[in-house]
């Protein structure tokens, strides 16, 4: 079994508008899968369905070879770490106290907290209330909580939101190291082609809720030898959205 995530005809309709339209997505073990698409394409909605936060109207999700259902959900989610859209935190608690909520629920050792705080470089700031954190620091805390259990599958929705260029590079290097170091599979979404180009092994391009391309990054580069990656992307997504 090499497929960590597999979806079939995954569909979500919001108020009569099809926002995710029959997506057949396939993520292989140990790979970094970049989900690329312009704003409003349906990236976050797709990832939320993988996490059971949003119920699909149609379609099937298989994670770790098990079909995702209300019964199997809790078991599957134990092995997934996630950061979706804005980071989550209790503003009145410090970073360490925040992470301790997770370790208590998941019965993880305290040393995981030290480790992830070091990884995201918040170890100097851990005793500050998170409401006093900057956007980038909150984002780092979000990544730290996603990493906390060193899960088999990591789902990161625009993880570099709000980070400065040095921070973006740092997080990129961190994500790149995860499959080798911990055997993780990572799904990263972004609306930035350049970001996915530097990060992903495989790419899924989503536009208006449809998966218009899925394959390895090399294959995308070779998709049309006459055109640059940027032109290929614009061609695939019909030119909408930012790059």
């Amino acid at each position: 079994m090499n497929e960590i995530v597999e979806t079939k005809k995954l569909t979500k309709v919001y108020g009569g508008k099809v926002c995710v339209d029959g997506i057949d997505m396939s993520v292989e073990k140990g790979r970094i899968y970049g989900l690329l698409g312009p704003n409003g394409a349906g990236k976050s909605t797709t990832l939320k369905m993988l996490l059971g936060l949003v119920r699909p109207n149609m379609g099937e999700i298989k994670i770790f070879g098990t079909i995702f259902s209300p019964k199997t959900k809790t078991e599957i989610l134990k092995d997934i770490g996630s950061l979706i859209e804005s980071p989550s935190y209790y503003g009145h608690l410090t970073a360490r106290e925040n992470l301790r909520i997770y370790t208590t629920i998941l019965s993880l050792p305290e040393k995981n907290i030290d480790e992830v705080l070091r990884i995201v470089r918040l170890d100097g700031q851990e005793n500050k209330k998170t409401s006093a954190y900057s956007l980038g620091m909150k984002q780092r805390l979000g990544i730290a909580s996603a990493l906390l259990s060193f899960p088999k599958l990591l789902i990161l929705d625009e993880p570099t939101n709000g980070l400065d260029p040095a921070g973006i590079k740092e997080i990129r290097e961190l994500i790149l190291s995860l499959p080798k170091k911990y055997g993780m599979t990572v799904i990263v979404s972004s609306h930035l082609l350049s970001e996915i180009d530097k990060l992903a092994d495989d790419v899924g391009i989503i536009s208006n809720g449809r998966l218009v391309y899925q394959g390895s990054l090399e294959a995308l580069h070779g998709y049309d030898s006459q055109k640059s990656l940027e032109e290929i992307f614009i061609g695939l997504t019909g030119g909408v959205g930012s790059l």
């Binding site: 996490l51 936060l53 996630s82 859209e85 804005s86 503003g91 208590t104």
Partner: protein, 255 residues
């Protein structure tokens, strides 16, 4: 479940939750006791019964408010920090709902019990005449807790399901007004029974008759009401229904 309750306790740090509960208890007691500052002879003579007659109205005014603020206080941090989408992937939603509810129920339950003890002490300290009617007061305690739990579960569901806390707050305030209203509408007793906020009044144990502006307590007599067991079963059933519905809504909520 125990783990989740522990987590809830950790989240309370620095939120002045217990201070808030203490303030509510003091507010309630101040309201009840100010009438007994300088008690008249009638106040002392009828003290135990008079209290049972007066308290359901005070409960209808104050307890739903306490429930709504307590529930909101416990749930708002989840919304303001986008925590639900994390928590719901860490553990089952049903258990999350229950753990938070447990803490809230415990908190309002203890508050009501403390209020009850203080009121009984008030009676003894002021020297109310006659024997302390233990069984009536125990009944009264149960009949105060039942609607409180019923209302709390509703407030908890609203506070957890709606990011916007004013949904719960305004439902609570509107219900409270309707509840007070239903108590004064003596000739439509079914209204009190149907409205959950009217249940304090519907579980009233003591009626006072013969009081007029001129004669005051001269011709007053009290009647103890019996509460039909069917109505109690109705309250318990509606509490369970509110719980099941709230939990179901939370489980279906999209984040």
């Amino acid at each position: 479940m125990i783990t989740l309750i522990k987590c809830e306790l950790k989240k309370l740090k620095g939120r002045y939750f217990f201070v808030m509960s203490a303030v509510f208890i003091m507010l309630y007691l101040a309201w009840v006791m100010h009438g007994y500052d300088k008690p008249s002879e009638a106040d002392l003579k009828f003290g135990w019964k008079l209290l049972l007659y007066q308290l359901p109205l005070i409960n209808t005014i104050l307890l739903p408010f306490i429930c709504s603020v307590t529930a909101s206080r416990l749930c708002e941090t989840e919304h303001s920090g986008n925590m639900l989408k994390q928590l719901c992937t860490l553990t089952s939603r049903g258990r999350l709902f229950d753990a938070k509810l447990f803490l809230g129920i415990l908190s309002v339950g203890i508050s009501v019990a403390v209020m009850w003890v203080c009121i009984v002490m008030l009676g003894f300290i002021k020297g109310f005449w006659g024997k302390f009617p233990v069984d009536l007061y125990i009944k009264y305690l149960i009949f105060t807790l039942l609607p409180t739990f019923e209302i709390y579960i509703l407030q908890h569901s609203l506070a957890l399901c709606f990011k916007n806390q004013s949904v719960g707050f305004f439902t609570g305030i509107a219900g409270e007004f309707a509840g007070v209203f239903s108590i004064f509408l003596q000739n439509v007793p079914w209204l009190r029974k149907l409205l959950i906020w009217g249940h304090y009044g519907a579980l009233d144990l003591m009626g006072m008759y013969g009081w007029t502006k001129e004669t005051k307590f001269e011709n007053v007599y009290f009647v103890t009401y019996d509460i039909s067991p069917i109505f109690i079963i109705f309250i318990i059933a509606s509490t369970v229904l509110i719980y099941l519905f709230g939990r179901y809504m939370f489980e279906r909520k999209e984040l």
